[in-house]
C-alpha cells in the first residue's frame, strides 16, 4: 500500500478493452458447466443416524454429547465401532480428542468449523472419501454447546469491519435481505410468519424438539423485534446437542441393519467475492442457488415436482424464501405468496423441515435436517411422517450453498 494520503488513481496501464473484458468476465460464474459429480449418483448411502436430546446441558462437554450421538448412530447402523475408518468432526473443539474419546484410529479424518454451511459440505466430502476409497465407513459428528456457553452470535462473538457503525449479527444481515425482498416483491411479514408457524407445528409433533408452544401468525407479528424487519420468531434457537451420521458405499450398505438411504444428487457453489458483509448477499445467493440446483437436480435426475419433503436450512426465516426461489420451487419474488395457506406444513403440498427446523426443533446447523431426511425416507417419523416419502431434498442457501437429494434404495 502506498501510504495513507488520498489521491486519485491514474488511468490503469492496461488497454481499456482488456479491462472491460476482465470486468465482464467477473459477472459470470467460472466455466465449469461440463464438470459434475453425476457419476456418484446412488453410490454412497447413509446407514446410521443418531442425536442427543436438545437443550441446555451446562455439565456436558462437546465430547460427551458427541459420544452420545455416535453411540446412537452406531447402534442404528448395526456396525461395530472398529469398522469406522473415517471421521469428520464439525464444531468439535479438537478432532483428535473426539477420536481419543471414541477410541478411533481412522484412515481419513477431516475437521470443519461450526458454521451452518458446513453440514452439506461435510456430507459431500464424506461421499467423495468413500467413493475414492479413502475410507469405507465414515462417522460424521457434530457437537454444539452454544447454549450453555452463552453464545449470542454478535458483538465480540463475531467482530468485523462494520462494528463502528453498530452492525453485527447474522440475523441483521438476513433482515437487510428480507427488507430488500419486501421492497422488490411486496413480500409481507405475515407471509414470512407462515414459515415459522409451519415449522412450529412440526416441532410440536417431534418428541426431540426444543420449542413446542403453539404459535400463530399474530404471535409472530407481535413478537419482540430484534433487527427489524425481523422479530424473535424469525430467529433460530441456540441450544446444545449433537448429531452423528454414518455413511458407507451403497454396496456395503445392503448388509446393514436399516434400509439404506442413498445420496442421489449433490451440488454446491460458494460466493466469496461478494461476502464483505458476513451472511449477506445483495442477490440473496440466487445465482449460486440456481447453479447448485442445476447440479443437484441433474445428478439426481429429479426436479422440484418430484420432491416429497424439503429440508431447508433455516437459520432465519427469510432464508427459506430465498431457497424456495433459488431452487425452483417457485418463481423469483413469489415465495411470499407460495408459503401462504400452510403449503410448507405436513398437510401441505411441500412439507418442509418436518422436525421443526432450526427455528423450533434444534440449532444443529443443518445436521438435524439431514438426519430428519433419512428418517423420513425410512418411514421412522411417526405422527410427523410424510406418506409415500421417496425423495427428500436438503438445501442450504448461504455463502457456501450446498444441496443434497436423498432417496430410498
Amino acid at each position: 500500500m502506498s501510504g495513507s494520503a488520498a489521491r486519485n488513481i491514474p488511468e490503469p496501464g492496461h488497454d481499456r478493452n482488456r479491462l472491460l473484458r476482465r470486468h465482464a468476465a467477473r459477472a459470470i460464474l467460472p466455466d465449469d458447466a461440463m464438470t459434475s459429480m453425476n457419476h456418484l449418483r446412488n453410490k454412497v448411502a447413509v446407514v446410521g443416524v443418531g442425536n442427543t436430546p436438545y437443550g441446555n446441558f451446562p455439565h456436558k462437554s462437546d465430547y460427551a454429547l458427541g459420544a452420545d450421538a455416535f453411540k446412537a448412530a452406531l447402534a442404528d447402523s448395526g456396525l461395530e465401532k472398529h469398522e469406522i475408518d473415517g471421521l469428520v468432526t464439525c464444531r468439535v473443539p479438537y478432532y483428535a480428542r473426539m477420536g481419543e474419546v471414541l477410541g478411533l484410529d481412522p484412515r481419513w479424518t477431516l475437521a470443519l468449523p461450526g458454521h451452518g454451511r458446513m453440514s452439506g459440505m461435510a456430507i459431500i466430502e464424506a461421499m467423495l472419501a468413500i467413493e475414492s476409497g479413502a475410507a469405507d465407513y465414515v462417522a460424521l459428528i457434530y457437537t454444539n454447546i452454544g447454549r450453555s456457553r452463552r453464545m449470542n452470535y454478535g458483538g465480540d462473538d463475531s467482530a468485523s469491519v462494520w462494528d463502528p457503525w453498530g452492525f453485527t449479527s447474522p440475523g441483521a444481515a438476513h433482515a437487510m435481505m428480507f427488507r430488500m425482498h419486501m421492497q422488490r416483491y411486496g413480500t409481507t411479514t405475515r407471509q414470512l410468519a407462515e414459515v415459522s408457524v409451519a415449522f412450529r407445528q412440526h416441532a410440536i409433533l417431534n418428541p426431540d424438539a426444543v420449542m413446542k408452544k403453539p404459535m400463530t401468525i399474530d404471535d409472530h407479528e407481535e413478537a419482540r423485534p430484534i433487527a427489524e424487519p425481523l422479530r424473535l420468531l424469525d430467529y433460530c434457537l441456540i441450544n446444545d446437542g449433537a448429531v452423528c451420521m454414518i455413511l458407507t458405499s451403497a454396496e456395503r450398505a445392503r448388509d446393514l441393519r436399516k434400509p439404506p438411504v442413498l445420496i442421489t444428487g449433490a451440488g454446491g457453489r460458494d460466493a466469496f467475492r461478494r461476502s464483505a458483509v458476513a451472511n449477506f448477499d445483495p442477490d440473496m445467493w440466487f445465482t449460486e442457488a440456481q447453479d447448485t440446483s442445476r447440479q443437484v437436480y441433474e445428478m439426481a435426475g429429479v426436479g422440484p415436482d418430484d420432491v416429497d419433503a424439503l429440508m431447508c436450512y433455516d437459520n432465519f426465516s427469510p432464508t427459506v424464501l430465498f431457497s424456495l426461489e433459488g431452487f425452483g420451487y417457485c418463481k423469483r419474488g413469489e415465495s411470499g405468496a407460495f408459503v401462504e395457506g400452510g403449503r410448507l406444513g405436513l398437510g401441505g403440498a411441500l412439507p418442509t423441515n418436518t422436525d421443526g427446523g432450526h427455528l423450533s426443533n434444534s440449532y444443529m446447523q443443518g445436521w438435524a435436517l439431514n438426519i430428519e431426511a433419512v428418517r423420513q425416507l425410512r418411514g421412522e417419523c411417526g405422527i410427523r411422517q410424510v406418506s409415500d416419502c421417496e425423495v427428500v431434498h436438503y438445501v442450504a442457501t448461504t455463502p457456501c450453498t450446498r444441496s443434497i437429494i436423498y432417496t430410498r434404495a
Binding site: M1, S2, G3, S4, A5, A6, R7, N8, I9, P10, E11, P12, G13, H14, L19, R22, R26, N152, G154, G155, D156, A159, S160, V161, W162, D163, P164, W165, G166, F167, T168, S169, A172, A175, M176, M177, R179, M180, Q183, R184, R224, P225, I226, A227, E228, P229, L230, R273, A276, V277, F280, P282
Partner: protein
Amino acid sequence: MSYGTPLPDGDPLMEPFWQNAREHRLSVQCCRDCGDRHFPPSPVCPSCLSEEQDWEVVSGKATLISWVTFHRAYWDVLQSQLPYDVCLVALEEGPLLMSNFLGPRPENAREGLPLRVAFDAVSDHLTLPKFVAA
C-alpha cells in the same frame, strides 16, 4: 461528547480509510494495475492479485440498498442508543458500505434512494462516514 459505538478493530489495512474520514474524505481501495475498486481493503487486489494498491477518494454519491433497525444491543455500549438504524449503501463507484443515516432516517427511504456522504466526528480520533438523502 460521549461515544457509544465499538471502535475500529485496529486493522492496519483500514488506517488510510480512517485517516481520510477524519479529513472528511470517503475512500476505497483501488488497484493501480487493473483499476478494480474494492472495500473493505484487501492485501492483494481481489481481481488481479496485484499488491500495488492505493486509496481513491470517491464521490460520496451512493444509493440506499437496505436498512435494519436494531432493537437488541450486541455491545453493551450501544444499549443506550436503542433502537438505532444501520443502512447498507452502494457507492456510485461500486463497493458496498455498511453505515448509518446521519440524523433521522429519510422518510422516503427505500431501495435506490439517492444518498450522499456526511461525516460524523464521533470523537477526536474517529470520524464515521454516514449518509443523508442527496
